[in-house]
């Protein structure tokens, strides 16, 4: 039953998707017919028998190394439409139609298959056509492209002058075909047809070159075969479109060395003609069967053979030969061509991986993974953990032996880079993909092939596991194994080192020494070393996307996370102290950390402060010391007792009394200094300040009961919140241990949210859950293993998730059952109840369900609200776009990376700038804010009372006084914000709680009743802003007004 509805809703969506992606062939065919006939007209009008020489494209002919290319022009033997248009399976937005132009035999000599002569003539033939097309008024423009990125086989893309708005970018690709131009036997796979391809003077076979010509010879025949298979089979065509959508969304498989639309069609045709799919299947089923076939079939090892028309059989020897020469074989119906001759084994591996991932999605995900399969773009940046761009422009070493031999030089280079990295990285990498899309968009064949190295070569690496990637020593072959050891030394050069290991082994090895916090850079160092050594590239040519975002997490030149270990040790000592306290009525039974610094997800975990210690070491008081110290919350539980008071206030007071007793005892017995307010007790130990909280177990038991049944009694909110926070802390801590990349990604995410002044909208815990979701449910991708990759996925999640219609379920310990999911869904539906009447009327605009909180009550009930969530999404989208672009194409300039964290201040109605030297932690400030627009309303002087650093005078005082000077958790920004919220309800602040120097303000909307009351304030926004400035005296530097309030 359940499965039925899933497929139902999926089928509904699929049919809708198809409707949107399919073309309307009635109107399209009119356009195509008109365009084709005008092209035909032009080509037929070309005068015959004039001499075509290499003058038309001398560099091209020269670069592919052809000679004797002159011929006299003859009209083509005919035209035929082929490709996806002919089988009515085009998928939007690609609106190009393939037109085959059959080149006449008279233009070629019998031996033109030799030495690229065919390719040169083919190109010159197109040059002639282009020249005449350009002179026609029915054609707007003609540009060059290539067949599957093969530069020696250019094609023409014609944009007709006649256009329909329905089909934007409509074009016709003119592809020359060479039906029966040459003797097929001469092009058999074992023959050498390019004389310069030799090994030690002996000619080597040129299978790729031969296939390249054979492909053209059988273009027509193959397209006829496909037409026949696809005619009268609607579902098969639909499946083809679905497969195309799926493949096009994945840039790692829809490239020249893997899949293309034609090959998908061929695979489907193979399945259809071999009865692997029957006519009863629906499109989606065919889709699944095809992917299953791609992912798991054993037939790939043998090779696929399309049915032959005549009685020719492919002999065993021929099959063997195909298998030996090509990693993947799909032999066409003529039995001569391997249609997948461009596919590499890496590409095919990638294809199989992607296909099996999709099968997993279909099985596991909501709606059969519809969103993930068809709607999610999986480009290189989001797919690979470690991305590298190589700028190879003008690297002459590349073309030493000519551009085109059996394979083209770019493909050879791709292979070379791949094998180098494979050897260098070893098991650190799960997969390495090297892709060089070297086709320029405005390439002209006249320019030759030497300009085709402008685009950077792209390398994507999936890391196998973080532990492996972070390994500092690679052990190579034993010293006794002379040959291997020599090879190893040759590969690594001076980096290789003969070492004796603990187990007594003496072996060659490489050591990548680095600091603990910088271990994510090890792979970078390795890659750079290898590429420099073997490809003689300079550092500027190698752009690796690894550490570009680290600037936002680093103090000076060091990541403060490196002190986390120390913090945990101090915490251990502290909790032991607490448990040992004897002179309080109830003993401490458990101590649990709450602050994010304990789980490594704090953007800036506190550094030990020499004053916050039991004994102050005067020698350490020399340098510049901060005058503020953040307090980290620690939750304790006491032994059970029946003597607790009943009402909330009294409970809280009793808790305070206990805490004071604990503080007293710590101070008197252990000599650990403490400071206290009415609500908080802070303990200084080991350089840190811990803030104690007591969880009252009666409240806890009530919470527990509440989960089971309906709440009978209102649980004290403090206890409930404490309980939730402790649950959250321990779960995230566990997660952080499971995924080493989780913590840095979370820190980046938190930094981003704060940098764009969203601190008031999204709680830190909510961010932790969002990032957790990326790691726990990574489909349709793998688990992210690098911070940039994880961060990009976080941004995309924030931008693309359909928060209105779906709850985000974060199943941290994988313990949600069916009932839990139902419960969550019910909760979600009730939060969306008001949606029908009023779109604004929903609670939890971002519904986050976690194991401890199935109703999304903990973090996102009120904030972000709908408009805040939309704003967050918009910021995330633009940041994600910038980030993807930086990874793929931009030059590596740190300013552009900073843009990701630099928020535009003119998006607010008013802006308060703070005195930077009055921020408690000035080092946390990312960028100093300035504003040069709007109305300058007020300007304030800095207070002399507060200084973020201890003054030299203070340091000379007694230790007792010094301790009093150290301010725990004192944040003037926070004071200002709470004042704003209390007194200025008409203003909504946007701020950065980590340490920004700007606060954005927007005017709140009002309902008419309230307006009358606030009339005075509203009528003069300037006065209001001045009052704000007065309230923040000593802290506020400038106030600007950009937009006056809007009156409804």
């Amino acid at each position: 039953m359940e499965a039925d509805t899933v497929t139902d809703s999926r089928n509904l969506k699929v049919s809708d998707l198809l409707k949107d992606v399919r073309f309307d062939y009635d109107s399209l065919s009119q356009l195509v017919d008109a365009s084709v006939s005008s092209i035909k007209e032009v080509i037929d009008g070309i005068p015959e028998d004039f001499k075509v020489t290499s003058e038309l494209a001398p560099s091209f002919v020269n670069d592919i190394g052809a000679d004797k290319v002159d011929f006299s022009f003859k009209k083509p033997n005919g035209f035929s439409l082929c490709g996806s248009y002919s089988i009515r399976c085009m998928a939007k937005p690609d609106a190009s139609v393939d037109l085959l132009v059959h080149m006449p035999k008279e233009c070629f000599y019998e031996k033109d298959y030799m030495n690229h002569r065919y390719h040169a003539k083919r190109c010159l033939y197109l040059c002639v056509i282009k020249k005449h097309l350009l002179s026609s008024s029915s054609i707007e423009k003609v540009v060059w492209s290539t067949l599957q990125n093969e530069a020696r086989k250019p094609v023409l893309v014609v944009f007709p002058a006649k256009k329909l708005d329905q089909f934007p970018g409509f074009s016709i690709r003119i592809i020359p075909s060479a039906t029966s131009l040459f003797n097929v036997a001469k092009l058999s796979m074992s023959r050498n047809n390019v004389r310069s391809v030799t090994a030690d003077g002996v000619p080597e076979p040129t299978p790729t070159y031969n296939s390249s010509i054979l492909e053209d010879m059988f273009l027509e025949e193959n397209s006829e075969f496909l037409k026949k298979t696809f005619s009268e089979w609607q579902e098969l065509g639909d499946a083809l479109i679905l497969l195309k959508i799926w493949a096009k969304q994945r840039s790692s498989i829809y490239v020249h060395d893997c899949l293309n639309g034609f090959l998908i069609t061929v695979i489907l045709a193979y399945l259809a003609t071999h009865a692997k799919i029957n006519k009863a299947l629906k499109a989606l089923d065919i889709f699944r069967v095809t992917l299953d076939f791609i992912a798991t079939s054993k037939l790939w090892e043998r090779g696929l053979y399309l049915p032959t028309q005549s009685e020719i059989r492919v002999s065993k020897e021929e099959k063997m030969q195909f298998r030996e020469l090509f990693p993947v074989v799909i032999c066409d119906s003529s039995t001569f061509v391997n249609l997948t001759f461009r596919m590499t084994s890496v590409g095919f591996q990638e294809l199989q991986d992607e296909a099996s991932l999709i099968l997993k999605c279909m099985e596991k995900l909501r709606d059969g993974g519809f969103e993930e399969i068809f709607m999610t773009k999986i480009d290189f940046p989001v797919k690979y953990d470690h991305c590298i761009r190589l700028q190879l422009k003008g690297k002459t070493a590349l073309s030493m032996s000519g551009f085109c031999l059996d394979k083209e030089c770019w493909r050879i280079y791709e292979q070379k880079v791949h094998s180098l990295l494979l050897e260098g990285l070893g098991d650190r990498a799960k997969s390495i993909r090297v892709v060089w899309n070297n086709m320029d968009q405005d390439w002209h064949v006249e320019n030759g092939l030497s300009v085709l190295d402008r685009e950077p070569l792209f390398i994507g690496i999936s890391v196998s596991s973080t532990e492996k990637a972070f390994r500092t020593v690679d052990i190579g072959p034993d010293a006794e194994n002379k040959i291997e050891a020599l090879r190893f030394r040759k590969f690594w050069g001076e980096k290789s080192d003969l070492r004796r290991f603990k187990d007594g082994r003496i072996a060659e090895s490489t050591v990548w020494e680095t600091q603990q916090w910088a271990r994510h850079l090890i792979m970078k160092h390795i890659v750079e070393y290898i590429l420099k050594r073997h490809l003689s590239l300079s550092s500027d040519d190698i752009v690796q996307l690894v550490e570009q975002l680290d600037f936002s997490l680093i103090y000076g030149d060091k990541d403060p996370i490196s002190l986390s270990g120390n913090l945990l040790q101090v915490f251990e000592i502290f909790s032991k102290c607490l448990r040992e306290i004897e002179d309080i009525p109830l003993k401490v039974s458990s101590v649990q950390p709450l602050d994010s610094a304990f789980r490594s997800t704090s953007v800036f975990p506190p550094e030990p402060h020499p004053v916050a210690c039991e004994k102050i070491d005067s020698r350490r008081l020399q340098k510049l010391l901060p005058s503020c110290i953040p307090a980290m919350e620690v939750m304790i539980q006491l032994e059970g007792s029946g003597n607790w008071p009943m009402d909330d206030l009294a409970i809280e007071k009793t808790k305070s009394a206990f805490l004071l007793k604990i503080a007293e005892s710590l101070q008197n017995v252990k000599g650990i200094p403490c400071t206290a307010t009415e609500d908080n007790v802070d303990v200084f130990i080991g350089g840190y300040a811990f803030r104690l909280r007591i969880l009252h177990e009666r409240g806890l038991s009530l919470v527990k009961r509440e989960i089971g049944a309906d709440p009978v009694k209102q649980v004290s909110s403090t206890d409930k919140m404490l309980f939730i926070r402790s649950q959250h802390a321990s779960m995230i801590n566990g997660l952080q241990g499971r995924f080493p990349t989780y913590a840095p990604v979370t820190r980046l995410a938190k930094r981003w949210v704060a940098a764009h002044l969203f601190s008031g909208c999204l709680a830190e815990e909510a961010i932790e859950l969002l990032v957790a979701h990326i790691f726990l449910t990574p489909l349709p991708l793998g688990v992210p293993c690098s911070r940039i990759n994880g961060f990009l996925r976080f941004l995309r999640l924030l931008a693309d998730y359909d928060w209105m219609f779906f709850p985000l379920i974060v199943d941290i310990n994988n313990d949600f059952g069916r009932n839990d999911e139902k419960e969550i869904n019910d909760n979600f539906m009730s939060s969306r109840k008001g949606y029908e009447e009023d779109r604004q009327n929903i609670s939890s605009a971002m519904f986050l369900a976690a194991p401890y909180d199935k109703a999304s009550e903990a973090w996102t009930t009120t904030r972000p609200n709908l408009s805040e969530q939309k704003r967050l999404g918009a910021y995330a989208r633009s940041s994600a776009n910038v980030l993807s672009k930086l990874i793929l194409e931009e030059h590596n300039d740190s300013v552009q990376w900073e843009c990701l964290f630099r928020t535009p201040l003119h998006n607010y109605d008013a802006v308060i700038l703070l005195h930077r030297d009055k921020l408690p932690y000035p080092r946390r400030l990312l960028f100093p804010s300035e504003l040069n627009q709007g109305k300058h309303v007020a300007r304030g002087k800095a207070s002399r009372l507060f200084n973020p650093f201890l003054l030299p005078g203070d340091l000379k005082r007694s230790h007792e006084e010094l301790k009093n000077k150290l301010m725990v958790d004192f944040e003037p920004t926070k004071c200002l914000l709470s004042g704003l919220q209390e007194e200025f309800g008409t203003l909504k602040p946007w701020y950065d709680h980590i340490g920004g120097d700007a606060i954005g303000l927007t005017w709140n909307k009002h309902n008419s009743k309230k307006r009358e009351r606030d009339e005075e304030e509203e009528s003069n926004p300037m006065e209001l802003l001045k009052a704000v400035g007065e309230m923040g005296k000593g802290m506020v530097r400038d106030i600007y007004m950009l937009k006056p309030p809007r009156f409804v």
């Binding site: 809703s9 910021y875 910038v882 300007r939 002087k941």
Partner: protein, 322 residues
């Protein structure tokens, strides 16, 4: 450089696009008017291009106080990145011919226009003058970044000198000065610092406060109780005294339980009861029928939801994968 420009534009535009949406939400009425204004402003911007360049040169003679402030802030935190960026922005704005670059300052101009508009209500100046001001406002912004670098066209500088001066004074008067507040402890930094220290009077003092609270609290409770009892007694009722604390559950000597059962055993019972339920579940026909009906209802509602969602998606055109 060009790429940076593009990128920034993209970044900003994306974000700005969103805020626009918000704006439309809020003021549907004002929308029309605003659009009109926008057009007007953009016209002005285009037509006054040459004049704008004049003004740029002039306003490089900035009010000196402003300049100083900028320098000061630079001293405090002279990040090289910031300088670079502003340099880039400068370049972008110089290329005024670009369509995109025109639209961007426009938005800025609108905000200034509104301010100006208010002023103009008081002293109705001519429209043309207003337009000039707008361009100047946006141009001025440019020049703060320029930091007086451009020392071209000295002649033109003098021409509009007078009007500039007027403007300067206006600016000066408008900016409200906030004192550092170091002597006033009702507001600002001084208050926060004092509050901080006052909230930490020492452990003994705090202990005393809590003790006071607790005694007061107990007294209040006691008093309430007594009042209640007194009231009840007045009505002629006898008060049945409730024994405080837990019921005696174990005999002092033997240690055996008296008339009570433990939490654990109760939970056990409940668990057992729950366990036995699935056996009974679906035993009777009505149970099975009910279960089936419920399931069908749930499925139906889910199906309805899905359909609704698809309609919404269709409206939002989410089915375009590319």
């Amino acid at each position: 450089m060009k790429e940076t420009r593009k990128l920034q534009k993209r970044n900003l535009n994306g974000v700005r696009g969103e805020t626009k949406v918000e704006v439309t939400d809020v003021k549907r009425v004002g929308k029309k008017i605003q659009r009109k204004k926008k057009e007007k402003v953009s016209n002005v911007d285009l037509s006054e291009q040459p004049q704008a360049s004049q003004l740029q040169a002039i306003s490089s003679e900035k009010p000196k106080t402003k300049k100083k402030k900028i320098q000061k802030s630079k001293e405090i935190n002279s990040s090289p990145a910031d300088g670079k960026l502003s340099g880039k922005m400068k370049k972008r704005k110089e290329k005024g011919g670009d369509v995109d670059t025109i639209t961007e300052p426009n938005l800025e101009a609108i905000s200034t226009e509104k301010v100006e508009e208010k002023k103009s209500k008081m002293n109705k100046t001519k429209k043309k003058r207003k337009a000039k001001e707008i361009t100047r406002a946006s141009v001025e912004d440019d020049n703060q970044k320029r930091e007086g670098k451009s020392k071209k066209s000295n002649k033109k500088k003098k021409m509009d000198m007078t009007s500039m001066k007027e403007n300067q004074i206006e600016e000066e008067e408008d900016v409200y000065e906030i004192s550092s507040g170091d002597e006033d402890c009702t507001k600002g930094m001084k208050k926060w610092v004092t509050d901080y220290y006052e909230s930490r009077p020492g452990i003994d003092e705090l202990q005393k406060r809590i003790d006071d609270f607790m005694t007061a609290h107990d007294e209040r409770l006691e008093k309430e109780k007594q009042e209640k009892e007194a009231k009840a007694a007045e009505g002629g009722w006898t008060v049945v005294v409730h024994h405080k604390g837990r019921k005696k559950s174990t005999e002092a000597e033997s240690g055996t339980a008296v008339g009570s059962f433990s939490q654990a055993s109760l939970e056990d019972k409940i668990a057992k009861k729950k366990q036995s339920e699935p056996v009974a579940h679906g035993f009777y026909r009505f149970q099975r029928r009910e279960a089936q009906r419920n399931e069908i209802l749930a499925l139906q509602s889910k199906f309805e939801q899905d359909k609704k969602r698809i309609q919404q998606l269709r409206a939002a055109r989410r089915f375009k994968p590319f």
